[in-house]
Amino acid sequence: MIYFDSAATTFQKPAAVRDAMARAMATMSSPGRGNYPAAQTAAETAFECRSELAELFHAESPEQVVFTSNATHGLNIAIKTLVKPGSHVVISGYEHNAVTRPLSAIPNVRVTVAASPLFRQEEALSAFERAISPDVDTVICNHVSNVFGCVLPLEGIAALCASRGVPLIVDASQSAGVLPIDLLALQAAFIVMPGHKGLYGPQGTGVLLCNHSVTPLMEGGTGSLSVQQEMPDFLPDRLEAGTHNMPGIAGLLEGVRFVRSRSPEVICQHERELAQAAAVAMRHIPGIRVFAEPDLRNQVGVLSFLVANQDVEAVGEALANGGIAVRAGFHCAPLAHQTAGTLQSGTVRLSFSAFNSKQEISRFLQLLRTI
């Protein structure tokens, strides 16, 4: 199988990830639960993982790194901390349902969409500038669209939020491990990411970087302050009720080490080259519409396209039958399709990882020409 669905989950992982998970199953219980080796090894692994993540994303302390079960989990914590009934929230035009559904679930939230055309960073920044009025309580912005791969001007949006005193939640689901992310410089309240995409960890892992006081989504045992009934007021314990996913965390640690050893910049360059090669060739195929910039300056290795007179799911199925895994439909982001004008059709999406090659692009193009 040729796998081009890494914006959903990177399927090919470094071998060290699998090995670490198997080792964790054999040697680790849960951090902080005892003075015996299985608990101590788990504690050491969890701390190593927090420390690596803190260094990669410039968090001041490993305690700001909270393990979640995925990005949706982290977004729910961040959103339900900052957004209350009646709040006014500004979001980008490219948000995922992981942002818009939690907002819809909170009564009487007023949402202003700072919509901007694909790949136009200056227009995106202007849209946020206009939308962040004095009564705005929170801004939520994804760094990269999961549908189109377009990069939003995060530094500018963060500076705007800082200057107007509005807390910012960043959805880094598509950018973590690919683009530089600096919690200290951005001064975002929360940055949220999955472990199973660009960080090459296993499914069931996610990370919430906290730079703001936070309300737990879930209460329970933490192995600390056990005689009191309130959740601890310190991180990460405040947000990590229950037994940790140690095989997941051990795998995530190796995934993060893989990313740091190659560097996000090198991985991003590789994925961009693949996307560019695919986009250039696809433009020469009659009936194909590709959503890409000529130089992919404001785009990463995520590429949507349409085939004239073909349902996107039919295209996805034809590619799957030919051994190529892609994602078709709305990608859980109807707002992004509304913004880009593809809400009626959806798109077919290619998304690449460090493990894809130009030979795989050639094979894909061959197959696409026959559809």
Partner: protein, 84 residues
């Protein structure tokens, strides 16, 4: 045998303390603190040799990592040190 116990608010905090001490050449084992020492329920502690206390506390203070409590283990019993 005499030693000091530094109580930390969480295992992650204790691990941060341990890393700071490692950097100045002090090895301090992390373990769950005896239940009778705190009224907070489960806590974590670092065990220090007596000659390391002053330099350890200085390094932790400089790193912004402050212990909740410090105890001296002496003649089979724990004695809490007055906060300084």
């Amino acid at each position: 045998m005499e030693y000091y116990l530094i109580i930390a608010r969480s295992i992650t905090y204790a691990q941060r303390m341990s890393r700071v001490l490692e950097r100045i050449g002090i090895r301090a084992q992390i373990f769950r603190a005896p239940v009778g020492l705190t009224d907070r329920g489960c806590s974590y502690a670092l065990r220090l040799r007596t000659e390391h206390l002053a330099s350890a506390l200085r390094a932790l203070h400089e790193a912004g990592l402050n212990p909740i409590q410090v105890f001296l283990f002496q003649q089979g019993d724990y004695h809490e040190l007055e906060p300084r």
